[in-house]
């Protein structure tokens, strides 16, 4: 324990140094300061690789990235929401509904349990667009409820979480939809050695980064999270921005749904239960603060990778299933404690 506390002290010292060097415009160090959690990730990777060198096999690295991509993509939208001082509990259910509708439109014509028996094989763009539309609409409903009725985000998205799950179950009477077309499965497959889910994840991270850092919408998200009243007074159209924000988060859940369906080749109406919490965990590990106004896309990606590395690493090390959950919980708490220290240093 003394080692790790020393490390924390070290890190705090470093942060202090960074503060001084910021004026010098040392970009790399500023970057490191911004993503303090990156040290934890590197430490985790080094530790696991020493204990089990197979961790660094290229296939395994791609496995970790692929396995992280589904909740990683959800965490992108979630991070923007948490920056705005909101929360979205409905993304797991939205994933399930968007995914199951996409799957029902993307089955091979010879599927044994064809959902639409008279529907031929659809080009893969049809299920993709259907999923994206569902994600954006359900997310938009969340945003609309929050912006125009004033109910808390927790309540609005809790309601959506339950309703969307119910609709998903009703849609297939509780049964899974399977046997998707090869084109659909390609979305979960590989180009050469590179997994397609990882490419989609990288693309989404890029889009979200541009959106957050280089558009007025991104500035507004930070402003709303920092102080919603001040944002309103300074002329931000809070309602419109909340609507777009939650629609975007729903859209990301739908992208995750497409990756999920492509990777697994089947969507179960009970799929992704609890994934909203994994997405929230990834955001929070990545330094997004529940106080609002603080968080980055890079952090969200690192947070998702920390969880991915941890889950993969614990399995490689043969850690007992019960212990894995305990350790995952501990890591979330420790990451946030470290991160709070960093933020309080800032002030």
């Amino acid at each position: 324990m003394s080692d790790s506390s020393k490390k924390i002290a070290n890190e705090a010292e470093k942060a202090e140094d960074l503060k001084q060097q910021k004026a010098n415009g040392n970009k790399l160090l500023i970057y490191l300061k911004k993503y303090g959690i990156i040290f934890a990730l590197i430490l985790l990777i080094v530790g696991i690789s020493i204990a089990e060198p197979k961790f660094l096999n290229p296939t395994n690295i791609f496995n970790v990235l692929t396995q992280s991509s589904i909740y990683g993509i959800m965490a992108l939208g979630m991070t923007l929401i948490i920056i705005s001082k909101g929360i979205d509990l409905s993304v797991g259910s939205i994933l399930a509904f968007a995914g199951i509708v996409a799957a029902s439109l993307g089955q091979v014509s010879t599927a044994t349990n064809k959902f639409f028996p008279n529907l031929g094989e659809m080009p893969v763009i049809v299920p993709i667009l259907a999923a994206l539309a569902i994600g954006a609409i359900l997310g938009g409903i969340n945003g609309g409820l929050i912006a125009y009725t004033g109910i808390p985000a927790f309540i609005a998205t809790l309601g959506m979480m339950t309703m969307a799950r119910g609709v998903t179950l009703m849609y297939t009477s509780g049964k899974p939809v399977t046997q998707l077309t090869p084109d659909f499965m390609f979305l979960g497959g590989k180009i050469g050695v590179i997994p397609v889910p990882v490419l989609i994840y990288a693309l989404m991270a890029g889009i979200t980064w541009v959106l957050l850092n280089h558009t007025s919408f991104g500035k507004n998200v930070y402003a709303i999270g920092g102080n919603i009243k001040a944002a309103e007074i300074s002329g931000v159209n809070v309602k419109k921005n909340l609507l777009i924000l939650y629609a975007f988060c729903g859209l990301m859940a739908a992208v995750a749904a497409i990756v999920f369906a492509g990777r697994v080749g089947s969507v179960h109406p009970g799929a992704a239960v609890g994934y909203e919490l994994t997405a929230i965990a990834a955001s929070v590990i990545g330094g997004t603060s529940f106080d609002g106004g603080i968080g980055t896309v890079g952090g969200a990606v690192i947070g998702a990778l920390v969880l991915g590395v941890l889950r993969n690493g614990l399995t490689l090390l043969g850690v007992q299933a019960y212990w894995q959950q305990i350790l995952e919980g501990l890591i979330i708490i420790v990451a946030v404690i470290i991160d709070m220290r960093k933020n309080s240093k800032k002030k």
């Binding site: 089990e52 197979k54 961790f55 096999n57 296939t59 395994n60 496995n63 692929t66 396995q67 589904i70 044994t112 349990n113 125009y148 009725t149 799950r165 179950l169 009703m170 009477s173 509780g174 049964k175 899974p176 399977t178 046997q179 497959g189 590989k190 999920f260 990777r263 697994v264 080749g265 089947s266 179960h268 109406p269 009970g270 799929a271 239960v273 889950r311 993969n312 399995t315 490689l316 043969g318 299933a321 019960y322 894995q324």
Partner: protein, 313 residues
């Protein structure tokens, strides 16, 4: 004004959904009314039991009131108590938590309403109290059948990984116990890992990918507590080009039967869920007609292999 309108609109929508999917459509004129309290209709297996019970009800002009507790034990108690208040003739319950059925058993026996537990056994090895029945299959047998099938295919040595269901579910614990009952008899067999995929295909897939990295060619077989996870394992193995690893599931869902037919899945075990649902209803009707059926009825598991899979379609 606008707010009130919105509130009213939402109310109308919500009420609309409730009435649209609310319970029984059959006229209650003739025959019995039977309450059916499902643990979770989110669970594919549970829908097979509920569907079979509903089909039996329709055929026999019985009104069935299906309720879904969504894995919430308190909700299930409330639902059963509401059924008793409504005065149903008999109640079928798939327990959310087998160790917490005392209040439901007491309430039904006090109201003298026949109570039939289906699928999950609240009584262990004990006999249920008078007026209470149990229909199900011995989960441990499913695990043993799976283990026997594996030994036949793989021989008496090799590395095995077990994909467990939710760690607090009896089926997950007992099926794994059944696996070990068989595997522990063979010193040449090593259990490399046992981890939970929470019954889900995507999680079974991720775990298998990680096991392939960890154990490489030492991994010869995967026993999954259900077919969804088994199919996830099959997919991961296919992607990794490992046709040599044997995978066995439990449940014999349609997808798994197709996979057994094309030999990508080495086998599965059929828990006759539809048979449980039907038999549960039959027992309830027998009691209502004044007969005295056995208090515990076991429905057999069947091993499904590429050779016999055709007869289960």
């Amino acid at each position: 004004m606008k707010k009130i309108l919105i509130v009213m609109l939402v109310l109308v929508m919500v009420l609309g959904t409730f009435t649209a999917c609310g319970g029984a459509k059959e006229p209650a004129a003739k025959g019995f009314t039977i309450g059916y309290a499902s643990s979770n209709l989110n669970d594919t297996g549970q829908t097979f039991i509920a569907d079979a019970a509903t089909a039996y009800a329709t055929e026999n002009n019985i009104t069935i009131d299906v309720q879904d507790a969504q894995e919430d034990v308190v909700k299930q108690q409330d639902q059963v108590k509401a059924m008793i208040e409504k005065g149903v003739n008999a109640i079928l319950v798939v327990p959310v938590d087998t160790s917490a059925m005392g209040p439901i058993t007491d309430a039904a026996t006090a109201a003298k309403i026949p109570l039939v537990y289906v699928n999950r056994n609240p009584f262990g090895d004990a006999t249920p109290p008078a007026g209470v029945y149990y229909i199900g299959s011995k989960e441990v047998v499913a695990g043993e059948l799976q283990g026997d099938a594996l030994i036949k295919l793989m021989g008496e040595k090799g590395g095995v990984a077990i994909l467990m269901g939710k760690l607090d579910n009896e089926a997950a614990v007992k099926r794994t116990e059944g696996n070990k009952n068989v595997l522990s008899k063979y010193p040449g067999i090593t259990i490399l890992a046992e981890e939970t995929g929470n019954w889900q295909r995507d999680q079974g897939m991720s775990l298998t990918e990680n096991w392939l990295t960890a154990y490489g060619t030492k991994l010869n077989a995967i026993l999954a507590n259900n077919d969804e996870m088994a199919l996830g394992a099959v997919q991961a193995l296919k992607a990794a080009g490992r046709a040599d690893v044997l995978v066995l599931g439990v449940d014999a869902i349609p997808d798994a039967k197709a996979a057994v037919a094309d030999k990508s899945l080495a086998g599965t075990v059929l828990q006759d869920l539809a048979g449980q649902g039907r038999t549960g209803m039959e027992i309830a009707v027998k009691v209502l007609n004044g007969e005295t059926p056995a208090q515990v009825t076991w429905i057999d598991f069947v091993s499904v292999t590429p050779e016999n899979v055709a007869q289960f379609n």
